[in-house]
């Protein structure tokens, strides 16, 4: 295969790679106790990426046959040549050592060998666990697994096969009380086999969701304006992801689109703040071994004790910024080129207790878990939304709130984190969108932000 492409690209590529993927998936959904979706799918495809004269061309094909691959290579080369004709700054690649062999993430319970019935049981047990609460109007649960076999061959000698299992479970409950509708979501997702659900973790999580829903249905609108905020590990994780992780993506840094540009080595946060992006922690939803450029990934300490220390890098952005690639280039599928992405982003633990955080807060908010967030990386403005929240008055947690969102500026808020908890919870899964989607994880301890902008409806 690679020879055919090599021949097709003779003299037309300074670098090229061919990435082929084979994805087997199961996608199930139940609405209450009825199966509303059951899809078993298999999809193969390949793409060719060509760097010529400092310009990139890319083409994909769903057909792995030699003629199709050669044609894709030809189209990618033509695109690269056209762009190179009037190129300004040329793209180059930072050197890396080549990767070879097979890297397989093992499954203890192989979901490829399970039938749909046994996977549906997971959703049935979820329903059974919470069906009797009369304020639950609807329950939607979903399960998805994907097994991705990817082969990457590059013109500089890498030939690596990766095999990656991922499982994803999601529960959405809608509750109604006195004409009011509220919803709550929970997710469990891992880079592993069906053992992710050992011990009935989905039942425990579903019950926890119900108790959150009770609080939401009793919740009031929050006060607005600047105030102290305590974030739980779920929300701390989203903060790490939205406010810090995105601004640390080297493609944004290199294109004038990050508030972290030119700030490596500078103090940007309180001493107690250390933030990492780490794909090497086994089993988390954002974990992997080699990125989609064949670079073995390593732990990225983005902020080390308040000092900006590293970015998340692809080979191209590493060359542009004069840094060393750290395996941060990921592609959603063979339809896309790899771009700089996060993996598992989290704040490292500190030494404060939850009680210490509460002390001294006259009026503030305790926020838990999230429905998501978004960021403007160039100016560092971020928004994220809490699923659940409580008013803090005189150092005590008081009444539940609803629809609480937080916003702020990355470079300010990193200074305002005044306490970091001694607890640490990783494994809060997410699906990050940046033109392409990527499975990610985040987490951290409880943290306290001395002042943060709170908005409600």
């Amino acid at each position: 295969m690679i020879r055919a492409v090599e021949e097709a690209l003779k003299g037309r590529a300074d670098y090229f790679d061919v990435r082929s993927t084979d994805v087997t998936s199961t996608d199930l959904e139940m609405k209450n106790n009825e199966v509303s979706r059951a899809i078993a799918g298999k999809e193969v495809g390949a793409c060719v990426r060509v760097l010529y004269g400092g310009a990139w061309g890319f083409a994909s094909t769903p057909d792995l046959g030699e003629p199709s691959l050669k044609e894709a290579a030809d189209r990618a080369a033509r695109m690269a040549r056209s762009i190179s004709e009037k190129i300004g700054e040329k793209s180059t690649l930072a050197p890396v050592s080549t990767s070879n062999g097979t890297a397989e993430i093992p499954m203890k319970k192989n979901f490829l060998e399970m039938n749909i019935e046994s996977k549906l049981q997971l959703l049935e047990s979820t329903y059974e666990a919470v069906k009797d609460y009369d304020f639950i109007a609807n329950l939607t649960s979903a399960y998805r697994d994907t097994y991705t076999v990817e082969e990457l061959r590059t013109s500089d000698g890498t030939n690596i096969i990766t095999k990656t299992p991922r499982v994803f479970w999601e529960l959405m409950i809608v509750g109604r009380k006195d004409g009011d509708i509220q919803s709550i979501r929970r997710r469990i997702a891992n880079t592993k086999g069906f053992e992710a659900f050992d011990g009935g973790i989905e039942i425990e999580t579903a019950r926890d969701a119900v108790s959150s829903l009770v609080a939401l249905l009793a919740g009031k609108s929050p006060p607005s304006g600047q105030m102290p905020v305590i974030a739980d590990p779920g929300l701390t994780g989203v903060f790490a992801h939205e406010a810090v992780g995105h601004a640390s993506e080297a493609d944004l840094v290199a294109t004038g689109n990050s508030c972290f540009e030119g700030m490596i080595g500078k103090k940007i946060g309180n001493d107690i703040v250390t933030i990492k992006d780490d794909a090497t922690i086994p089993g988390l939803f954002g974990s992997y071994i080699y990125d989609d450029e064949g670079v073995r990934t390593r732990t990225k300490v983005l902020i080390d004790k308040g000092i900006l220390n590293d970015f998340i890098l692809s080979r191209e952005t590493a060359a542009k910024l004069g840094m060393t690639p750290n395996g941060g280039a990921r592609a959603e599928s063979y339809h896309y080129r790899p771009i700089v992405r996060m993996s598992n982003t989290y704040i490292e633990r500190g030494d404060a207790t939850f009680q210490e955080m509460l002390e001294g807060i006259k009026m503030g908010i305790y926020v838990k878990d999230t429905r998501g967030g978004q960021v403007n990386t160039s100016m560092g403005t971020f928004q994220f939304n809490a699923q659940e929240a409580y008013l803090i008055e005189d150092g005590e947690i008081k009444k539940p709130l609803r629809d609480v969102s937080l916003s702020g500026h990355t470079l300010e808020i990193l200074q305002y984190i005044d306490l970091v908890g001694r607890d640490l919870t990783l494994g809060h899964p997410g699906i990050c969108g940046k033109g392409q989607t990527a499975p990610v994880g985040d987490g951290g301890p409880h943290i306290r932000i001395s002042k943060c902008l709170v908005g409600g409806r």
Binding site: I39, I181, S224, Q226, H335, Y336, N376
Partner: protein, 454 residues
């Protein structure tokens, strides 16, 4: 493309019939070229495409769905039949409505004949437009264009085909001056090659310039004028899903039981028009082959109807409304990999309008919001939202006073619509996480909760 796709759809239905099941096939083929701008340079170009078949079967009242390639139709059919045994039986049947309008497809031959070099040229026009002000960096953006064709057939005699063209451009300009950073965004999308790429870059930079010297907004309830992209972003996570029949049936819609009641300002109507002549989702039929139609959802403020795909219509005892789309889970597109669901196609707001300038002149204290962050975090069940201002301006005594340094706005979108007013600056807009698109102007809302540093 037409003959090929129709042949595949018919073949799939024929194979299904011979296996003794009712069958619907959705065959989709797309071709897409994109050219990327990064850091002021054109750096990357992509030629991508997709082609596949979605198969839905009904066997003994149970429905199943699977997807496959044109070469593996038997495999897809068997998968769909195999998984149908898990579904709850119902009185499901495929429709036989073939009353397609004979109007031409929204197809622009100029787009169909564009080559990658054209994309590079248009991207360069955009970069040139953005750098009229030498302080500006054309930070990130791109040009994309392509064709999508689809054929749908079912065992009730439906055979339909349509195709369409698309082109889009987008640019984010960044200006760094002294200690200030600001960015400005602009994008355009159309079925026709009818907009100017130079303008996109130019407008992006103009916005970045106008965003220098930002100040905080005060915390208070006030008038908020939302530009089309901000308003549509929030509406797609609040009002739109509440108008879908399945949400109503599940009791997850604030509009359930409110047909005939006042749900918006008396001079506002909301349509979902699958036949709209500029619409990003306009085709002869929906993605179940049901004829496209114009649905008046809200007429002069009164709620009139909900949207349905063919199976949810059966569940609710209603008629399909031509609102089926194979909506991507987390994206703005449609794909044969997922089964069809109810989704708004081209939401159009109509009613009395005034110019946005006049709206601003009539506002003593308020904000003009261009784009927001976090619309997808809105509460779909209740319609409550609380989002950050991505880009906006303070309005003081009838004039734009200064650009805003963040801040938040929140409220209940279905509630706010009751006191909304429309401007006349209509734009085609898309939503990030749904294939629903719209054609709407700026909207003025009263008593919106605004939170800022002051």
């Amino acid at each position: 493309m037409q003959d090929d796709l129709l042949a595949i759809a018919k073949k799939a239905v024929g194979a299904g019939t011979s296996m003794g099941v009712e069958c619907e096939a959705f065959v989709q083929k797309s071709r897409h070229t994109s050219v990327t701008v990064e850091g002021g340079n054109i750096t990357f170009g992509s030629l991508d495409g997709d082609h596949g078949v979605g198969i839905r079967t009904i066997k003994e009242g149970r429905t199943g769905y699977a997807y496959c390639s044109a070469d593996t139709i038997d495999f897809g059919l068997k998968q769909a039949i195999a998984v149908s045994k898990f579904s709850k039986p119902g009185k499901y049947a495929f429709h036989d409505d073939k009353n397609y309008s004979s109007e031409r497809s929204l197809f622009d031959n100029r787009i169909a004949s564009l080559v990658p070099e054209d994309g590079i040229r248009l991207a360069r026009e955009m970069v040139d437009g953005a750098t009229y002000d030498k302080r500006a960096l054309a930070s990130r953006g791109g040009v994309g264009f392509g064709i999508m064709g689809m054929a749908i057939a079912n065992s009730n005699g439906v055979v339909a085909y349509d195709e369409g063209t698309f082109i889009s451009g987008g640019m984010m300009s960044v200006i760094k001056q002294d200690d200030m950073v600001s960015n400005g965004d602009e994008s355009d999308i159309s079925r026709f090659l009818d907009f100017n790429f130079d303008n996109i870059g130019h407008t992006a930079t103009e916005r970045a310039v106008s965003q220098l010297n930002q100040k905080s907004v005060e915390t208070a309830p006030m008038t908020v004028i939302m530009r089309p992209s901000a308003a549509f972003d929030i509406m797609c996570s609040t009002v739109a899903p509440a108008l879908y029949g399945p949400s109503v049936k599940k009791g997850e819609s604030v509009y359930a039981g409110k047909i005939g009641q006042q749900v918006a300002a008396a001079n506002i109507s909301l349509l979902d028009d699958g036949t709209f002549d500029k619409g990003l989702n306009t085709y002869a039929m929906d993605e179940e082959g049901y004829p496209s139609q114009k649905n008046v959802l809200i007429e002069n403020g009164i709620l009139k109807m909900f949207l349905y795909d063919e199976f949810s219509a059966i569940d609710s005892g209603a008629k399909p409304t031509g609102s089926a789309m194979h909506a991507e889970r987390m994206g703005a597109g449609t794909t044969y990999r997922t089964p069809p669901v109810t989704c708004a196609r081209n939401l159009v707001l109509k009613g009395e309008t005034m110019s946005e300038e006049e709206m601003i002149r009539n506002t003593r204290n308020g904000v003009l919001v261009l784009d927001v962050l976090g619309a997808h975090t809105a509460n779909k069940a209740s319609g409550d939202f609380s989002v950050a201002i991505y880009s906006g301006y303070a309005i003081k005594d009838g004039e734009i006073a200064y650009p805003l340094n963040g801040g938040m706005i929140g409220g209940n979108m279905p509630g706010l619509l009751k006191e909304a007013a429309l401007a006349d600056n209509y734009r085609l807009v898309g939503a990030g996480l749904s294939p629903a698109t719209g054609y709407i102007p700026s909207i003025k809302f009263e008593n919106v909760r605004v939170a800022g540093d002051q």
